[in-house]
């Protein structure tokens, strides 16, 4: 198991290095510069390029960047908050995005599992149909539509919750965005859980468990759910990363200073350092979550661990 984890970590680090390199090259190829501004003369642009070291060849800039990065220095912003350290910008905003994302994930997992299990246990009944209908709606309605509906009815008409994000009441004001964001994961998790659980319940080993006279609830918890969760965890990994790294649309609607908006603005403004930092943070989270999922697999299902160790 240790060897397996060690190998996975090494591969992850190599992947991150390649991602950083590719990001840097893509940035260099992106049309326009951070200093394309009507008000800047050619001479001033050249001065700014020199000031920020952008006149150096791309490989030197990459090496410098990688070196500073190891020290935790992600450079400064060129366009969004001029001369502001990027690491601070990202740190401030990432926390908020992770907060909303985690809330949405928790909601999505709980409700998704409940819906999926209910549907599977009452296969082909009206409960199943109702749960499936909710899932289909959840998958097809975009989060911003839910966000606006929630804003209008829950916050504006009923006044139960604040419309906009409020620094002084982060939890209360993040409930609506989290609910809006959780709609799609709820639906996805419900659909997966339902179909997996139905598969498992129809399998031979469950028939064996039943024939041995194991109590119904015990069978569901120890035998059915455990086997159902493996594929569900696979889909939860990417969903989690998506949620944690912020949704620019939801952040825009609720006025949340999250990392999703920051990245979109950075791309539009050609703010190289901010774009690279945001994209890299995305990659790190993705890889960490996937690594975690891989390890979790081994714990939940010994067959996978053994198969991988043998290979």
């Amino acid at each position: 198991m240790k060897k397996y984890i060690f190998k996975r970590v090494l591969i992850s680090l190599a992947t991150l290095f390649v991602i950083l390199l590719v990001l840097f090259i893509l940035m260099d190829l992106m049309p326009g510069t951070p200093f394309n501004d009507e008000k800047l003369t050619e001479a001033q642009k050249a001065l700014l390029f020199a000031k920020y070291g952008l006149d150096k060849p791309v490989y030197i800039r990459f090496l410098l960047y990688a070196k500073n990065m190891l020290k935790g220095d992600l450079g400064v912003s060129y366009a969004i908050n001029k001369n502001f350290p990027v690491s601070e910008m990202v740190k401030e905003r990432l926390g908020i995005s992770i907060g909303v994302g985690a809330m949405a994930m928790a909601l999505g997992t709980v409700f998704g599992l409940i819906l999926g299990i209910l549907a599977a246990l009452n296969h082909n009944s009206w409960i199943d149909n109702l749960c499936s209908a909710i899932s289909v709606i959840g998958v097809s309605v975009p989060s911003y539509v839910c966000a606006l509906l929630l804003c209008y009815y829950v916050a504006y008409r009923l006044g139960w919750l604040p419309i906009l994000y409020n620094v002084e009441q982060p939890f209360i004001s993040l409930i609506l965005p989290a609910v809006a964001l959780s709609v799609s994961p709820t639906a996805n998790i419900a659909r997966f859980t339902r179909s997996e659980m139905i598969d498992v319940m129809n399998s031979d080993y469950i028939l064996l468990v039943q024939s041995k006279g194991v109590k119904n609830w015990k069978m569901i918890i120890y035998h059915v759910l455990r086997n159902t969760l493996i594929p569900v965890i696979t889909v939860m990994g990417p969903i989690l990363v998506n949620l944690l790294t912020g949704s620019s649309v939801i952040e825009k609607i609720f006025g949340i200073p999250g990392i999703g908006r920051l990245m979109i603005t950075a791309i539009q403004e050609n703010d190289y350092n901010v774009t690279i930092a945001c994209a890299f943070v995305y990659s790190v989270m993705y890889i960490v979550v996937m690594l975690f999922v891989d390890i979790l697999y081994g714990i939940i299902d010994p067959r996978i661990r053994i198969a991988k160790e043998e290979a």
Partner: protein, 532 residues
């Protein structure tokens, strides 16, 4: 066998495609043709176009916007003196187009119309409308949409044919526009319009000390640019529909200067909507309106602008001007102080603070983008601190806009001891700036809000409090117009910017304002800037 057939067939299709393709249009000759450009100008129904935009924008009558500058003798608006020099005449446009085709020996002329996708709804709508009118005249139009930064980079490189672009005036004088199109301005004259006549008119206007003559020369220059040469085609002046809560007043909008939010009255705590965040708190680094507005809240200059856009003294108590109008001596108020975030007085504002500030903005190492404000707009030749409270400025030549342009943050003072002590951290948060204005920056959360509290020490604040001035002004950064409107209606925002259908739906709401901005949108035609 099948594979071979498929390859052959593909080859055949490719060959056929190549053979049929017409030779590419040579833009370098097409847009040099005056009739081509003339037809573009005549083809566009600007009145109908701004009706479609429906956001308070007005049809252009020339390249100089409305309410930018006034005649030094009569006080009349530049536009009233000049009159309308663009015209919509679809029949004439068709005629000119046919003539142009004949002159160039082609059947059809194609226009690649470049525009920005992230510069607001109105730009996208306007580009589509322009394309429609040009096609009505006979042109074939390809709409090319790019992000703003890329669009500007294409223009700088001359890699475009026609581009819908804009200019925001920096100061209330025709020069801010006329300078764009002189042949020596390779940064802004993207189409490389070249006219000796125009160049001479602008150069003469900038050289003369006779203000009336200067005015007349600029009038003539605009006429040559727009009506004689059709070099750049003015389209519309940007509007901006918004609602301001009726009980508050005192927000002063300036189309060619920084909007003034320093005198809001009617409510103790005011929350204002802003679409964009502060770019920098450093008045020598900032380049955008949002940052400049924030800076005018907590710092001050020698003068400020009143509601009508005229200067009034601010940190300066009095001034003397030499007879030839080139030497100004300012007396700085005795009660002007620097205060920290807690409202404690740190130091007095001195003449040396201005000297330090101007030294800093002109320092090449800082690479300030607004260094030209001191040299090219204020026309400063030299400056010195005569004594602690006396600041003397010598201009290169008399400058009618000198005093009003001192109200711009690029000309504001700094406290050098404080700036040096903060080092890299200077102006990165509310804790690392000092205040010398009517408010104190209380907090700044990037992407969320910035808040100002009342500066008890500021000289005019006693009267201001008596008049019901706002004790706290919050700017909330919010991009979504729908939630913003809900928040306004819920009473939590005091201003809201409207877009799209919201404008029509709220026209009768109390507090609705159609505000005219200084931005002029025009078509830049690439006349001479190819393959450089």
């Amino acid at each position: 066998m099948k594979k071979l057939l498929a390859v052959l067939l593909t080859l055949l299709i490719v060959l056929a495609g190549c053979a049929k393709k017409e030779p590419a249009q040579d833009n370098a000759t097409v847009f040099k043709n005056e009739d081509v450009r003339k037809a573009i100008s005549y083809a566009i129904d600007r009145e109908a176009l701004v009706k479609t935009l429906n956001d308070g924008s007005v049809a252009a009558e020339g390249i100089i916007p409305f309410k930018l500058a006034t005649n030094p003798s009569t006080g009349a608006d530049f536009r009233d003196d000049q009159g309308k020099i663009v015209e919509y005449d679809p029949d004439k446009a068709k005629e000119l187009y046919a003539q142009a085709c004949e002159e160039l020996g082609v059947k059809q002329i194609t226009i690649d119309l470049l525009y920005g996708t992230n510069e607001g709804d109105s730009v996208i709508k306007a580009a589509e409308q322009i394309a429609y009118y040009l096609e009505e005249a006979g042109y074939k139009v390809n709409l090319i949409s790019k992000q703003k930064k890329e669009r500007l980079s294409l223009m700088t490189d001359g890699d475009y044919a026609v581009c819908l672009t804009r200019w925001g005036p920096d100061y209330a004088d025709p020069q801010t526009y006329m300078d764009l199109f002189v042949s020596t301005n390779t940064s802004n004259n993207s189409g490389r319009y070249k006219s000796e006549k125009y160049d001479k008119l602008v150069a003469d206007a900038e050289a003369t000390t006779d203000m009336d003559e200067r005015w007349a020369l600029f009038l003539e220059a605009e006429r040559v640019l727009v009506e004689e040469d059709y070099a750049d085609v003015p389209i519309f002046q940007a509007g901006g529909a918004m609602i301001i809560r009726p009980e508050i007043s005192g927000i002063e909008f300036h189309s060619a200067a920084v909007d003034n939010y320093r005198h809001i009255v009617g409510k103790d705590e005011v929350t204002l909507l802003t679409n964009t965040d502060i770019l920098s708190l450093d008045n020598h680094i900032a380049t955008d309106g949002t940052s400049f507005i924030a800076q005018t809240m907590y710092t001050s200059g020698l003068t400020e602008l009143d509601a009508g856009g005229n200067y009034k003294l601010d940190l300066a108590e009095s001034f003397e001007m030499s007879e030839d109008g080139t030497v100004y001596t300012f007396k700085i108020r005795d009660d002007a102080n620097w205060v920290n975030k807690d409202g404690e007085v740190v130091a007095p504002v001195t003449a040396q603070n201005f000297v330090d500030a101007w030294d800093r903005i002109l320092d090449p190492d800082l690479a300030s983008e607004y260094a030209w404000w001191i040299t090219d707009v204020l026309l400063v030749d030299s400056y010195e601190a005569v004594d602690e409270k006396t600041f003397k400025v010598t201009l290169a030549k008399p400058n009618g806009i000198f005093l009003s342009c001192l109200a711009f943050p690029s000309a504001f003072p700094i406290n050098k001891e404080f700036v040096d002590a903060q080092g890299d951290q200077y102006a990165t948060s509310a804790d690392t700036v000092l205040s010398c204005g009517p408010y104190i920056l209380d907090s700044w959360t990037s992407g969320y809000s910035y808040e100002f509290k009342f500066n008890e020490d500021y000289y005019f604040n006693e009267d201001y409090v008596a008049a019901g001035g706002a004790g706290k002004v919050v700017f909330r950064v919010l991009e979504d117009t729908q939630t913003a409107l809900m928040e306004y209606e819920a009473g939590k925002l005091d201003t809201v910017i409207l877009s799209g259908e919201q404008v029509d739906a709220n026209k009768d709401v109390p507090g609705y304002v159609d505000r005219l901005q200084g931005y002029m949108f025009y078509l830049s035609v690439n006349i001479n800037h190819y393959g450089e």
